[in-house]
Amino acid sequence: MNRRNFIKGSLAGGLAVAATAKTEKADAAAGTFGGYADSMGVLVDLTKCVGCRTCEAACNKEQGLPEPDKPFDDYSVFDEHRHGGLPRRTTEKEYTIVNRYEVEGREKPLYRKFQCNHCNEPACLTSCFVNAYTKTPEGAVIYNPKVCVGCRTCMIACPFYVPTYSYSSAINPVVKKCIMCYDTRLKFGRPPACVEACPQGVMTFGKRKDLISLAHKMIDAKPGKYVNHVYGETEVGGTSWMYLSDVPFEEIGFNTHLGPQPIINYVKDFLAIVPMVLTIWPALFTGFHLLATRKQANKDESNKA
């Protein structure tokens, strides 16, 4: 066995181990799971949002988040942008954000509330190698901060760029995101705080399957009012939070190229790298050791000859 072949061999070995681990985990966590049949969800009717930011205030209080940078009735936040002109996103102190979109041909701007979509088969969950995440039967995707090691894999895996990190502790940065008010409300059958606080009734809380049929009835009842698509019904295997809009979703910051497959199916290759790093090192070190001894053995042999 020459050196190149040997290294190829040990790499393949490492990959095989990683792949096996990944498949088992994917089966258990996602696979053909498709979501809990009776899970709850939220239907967000974006046409009704007036951008009052009450939902942001409600979330801040319910989740005991730090004081905001600006008052929740300060609408200058809609003019704020991140680097590269991107709209505001969720942060470790804001689990939900409302953004304003000026849409050509629409009389008024459209406001879009945004938070974790609580995927049926969450990429954050399947990508997490310490199993910090749980998808509860009620529909929420929650996490255990005690288990989180702050590796940020979920942040990269999430198709909606939701999880962020708390940097308040430099030693142990921990994931932060919307938990659908699981601990304080959802668990007890109550709607999330933001849903209940919204003065416009933008969000409807209910069983996910009821919301899907409601959404299609609403589209059918008022032809021309809504775009004929329920965002989140099929995207990345379906999400608990779904959206209705009167303008094409791609014009208001939604990724419309995600497809109906759970994100894990696309990023498997990338995600395999994380456990691979852990599994490949022993194999590599063994390889180096063997190489070194073999070299020595060869030397001895040639000396003999």
């Binding site: 940078d69 209940e196 416009q200 409601l214």
Partner: protein, 173 residues
Amino acid sequence: MSLKRGKLIGLAAIIAMASPFTQPLNAVGEVFELSSLSNLYEGVSFDHDMHIEAASDNCAACHHHTAGTPTQDPNCIPCHKNSGEAESAACSSCHEAEPFTSANLEKTANTPYLHHKEKPGLMAALHQNCLGCHSEVGGPLGCQDCHTMTDKGEKYYNTGKYAPKPGKETGHH
């Protein structure tokens, strides 16, 4: 909307979850206090006469099919063309103050009436109706044009005397 104090004290009818207003016809000529949100805000005084005038006596503009004038909504007409005046035309007699209790979720899921499935809760019904019309006719639209925030409200919105101190802004990543 300014508070018409004299009128309000004598005639205030409270539309709230605790005391649903049930006699719609007597509502003509009154100023209501809408107080279902009175936690974060003071009650809102609502001049019914002024709004009847603004709607040119077309009760259906706000009350759908329940107040005697026929509905014009094509989705309601098939069932409610001749249904006449309802026992109560108060918003709160149909729109639930807490729309998402498990009992209400069940009711909504099982209702045979297609267009009642998307019936908003009380707070949403009021705001959708008010803001919908106000944005068409140029009525007040800002939250505090109608609502006066309470101390609790200022705390909730981190505003007024609870506003964050300037200068500690961290911005977005």
